[in-house]
């Protein structure tokens, strides 16, 4: 392999990037920049994270969190995209709802989760509700902003052939907005994961990454466990994002071709 083709290898480059971060973190610990008592060494934490991979209970926690994550994300997309289209195409409705929406947007999870605990008797429902609440904003906003970017001539073309507003929405606005909505979904995916873990952390439960962190709270090594679990969250983020990117590349090849996508 030549140097050039090595640099073309995404997996290799990504691994080098991650390894670089690891080395920097380890060095910061070793040189005393960050006292290992205050924040554990990178190697310790990664060791713990690797140990966890063999821990059946923890893997069950991961699966449980992923379940709520997937359900929440799916529901998010199903709700946010249509609402985004509604608000994006009906400016009057949007400006009427705006004060309420903008009021709701900055409510933090620490305030939200206790309320959700009051309202839901089922933990899974509670998690999904909290995820949808927090994760739907990026999809909503990206949908609304994406709609503004639709080429008016493309819409007029379809209108001139006698298609109604719904058909224009479905056949022009949706496909041309889709790539930007997808970016919103990728944003939402990470937020959903964060909220799933936070809901388990604040709301308790019997399984989930957040519950795992809770349970380790009694340990004197709690910080190590927390950070190790966090690394797992990050890894899940990287993997899910790669899957999304892969799907986007297949679905939106036309978009890349037209816009000189740098790959």
């Amino acid at each position: 392999m030549t140097g050039r083709s090595l640099l073309d290898n995404r997996l290799l480059c990504g691994a080098i990037g991650i390894a670089g971060l690891f080395c920097v973190a380890e060095l910061a610990g070793r040189t005393g920049l960050i006292d290992p008592i205050v924040f554990p060494l990178a190697s310790t934490v990664v060791g713990r994270a690797v140990e966890l991979a063999a821990d059946g209970d923890f893997l069950a926690d991961v699966v449980s969190t992923l379940g709520a994550w997937a359900a929440g994300l799916l529901l998010t997309v199903l709700i946010a995209v249509p609402v985004g289209f509604l608000l994006g195409t009906l400016p009057r409705v949007e400006s009427a709802l705006r004060p309420v929406l903008e009021f709701l947007r900055p409510i933090p999870s620490v305030a939200l989760i206790p309320l959700a605990l009051l309202l839901f008797s089922d933990r899974f429902d509670m998690k999904v509700a909290v995820i949808v609440y927090a994760a739907w904003w990026p999809v909503l906003i990206n949908t609304m902003y994406g709609l503004r970017d639709v080429d008016p001539l493309a819409k007029e073309t379809l209108r001139s052939f006698g298609f109604g507003p719904l058909a224009v929405l479905w056949r022009v606005s949706l496909p041309s907005t889709a790539p930007f909505i997808a970016t919103g979904v990728r944003l939402a995916a990470a937020i959903a994961l964060i909220l799933a873990i936070s809901a388990e952390l604040l709301g308790g439960g019997s399984s989930g990454i957040g519950t795992f962190i809770l349970e380790s709270g009694s340990s004197t090594d709690a910080l190590e466990y927390t950070v190790a679990a966090t690394i797992w969250a990050g890894a899940i983020g990287v993997i899910s994002n790669s899957l999304f990117t892969l799907a986007e590349r297949r679905l939106f090849h036309w978009h890349l071709a037209r816009t000189e996508g740098t790959r």
Binding site: A96, V100, L118, P138, N142
Partner: protein, 263 residues
Amino acid sequence: MMRFLRALGRLWLVPVVLVAWEAATRLAEDIFFPPPTTIAARMHEMWFSGPAERLWLTDAALENIPTSVGRLFAGWLLAGVIGVVLGVMLGRSALLSRFIDPLVQFGRAIPPPALLPFFLALFSVGAQMQIATIVFGIVWPILLNSSDGARHVDRQHLETSTVFGLSRSQRLFWVILPSAMPKIFAGLRLSLSLALILMVISELVGSVNGIGFQLLDAQRSYDLPGVWGTIVVLGVLGYLLNSVFLVAERRVLSWHRGANRTT
């Protein structure tokens, strides 16, 4: 004057929602869901019962709200700069993105509260650590949307700038950034509300003032009207910030609205 009245007219939904909220909570008589009037009374007591020469703001209001909002702005601006710079770099450089992208995806999926100890270790308690937390939590929508915008610049626009020999910086400032601007603005708008949320989260540990501290304090004292009052303050702040943001956006993106208007 007319414009002011028209702007006021757009808020018609607010009283409707308030009345419905009041009615619902009065009927439910749940101590966890106090009626808005009770919340307002508590808010008045907490923040707005001060002397007239200080605009009726109490000590608590003057101590907590400006500090929090200050951190919020610092965090948001910093995140804006970092997000746009890094996002555009990742969007335009395939090589860089191959190395850095996994790190970004990794960081994105990490729950910001889990990193509080890390930032505490780096910056110790205080504004620095809180701003770091805010930046870390809200930079992702800006970063992702900027990189999406920078990556998908119309090919013909890039070719035009190549052909006329625009320098790298000219190309960046006159072609890539303006073209990505609508998407960047979507990210900035998302982050603004997220900044409020992260502001609260950053004030949860080791803090002695701020809106988040007050929220926590109210939660700990079972002061439910106080909890709701803080949520209302956050919501109102969110709405106000967003309104100002939209005014700025309308100026910067006026070309975009014009170019994509359909008749």
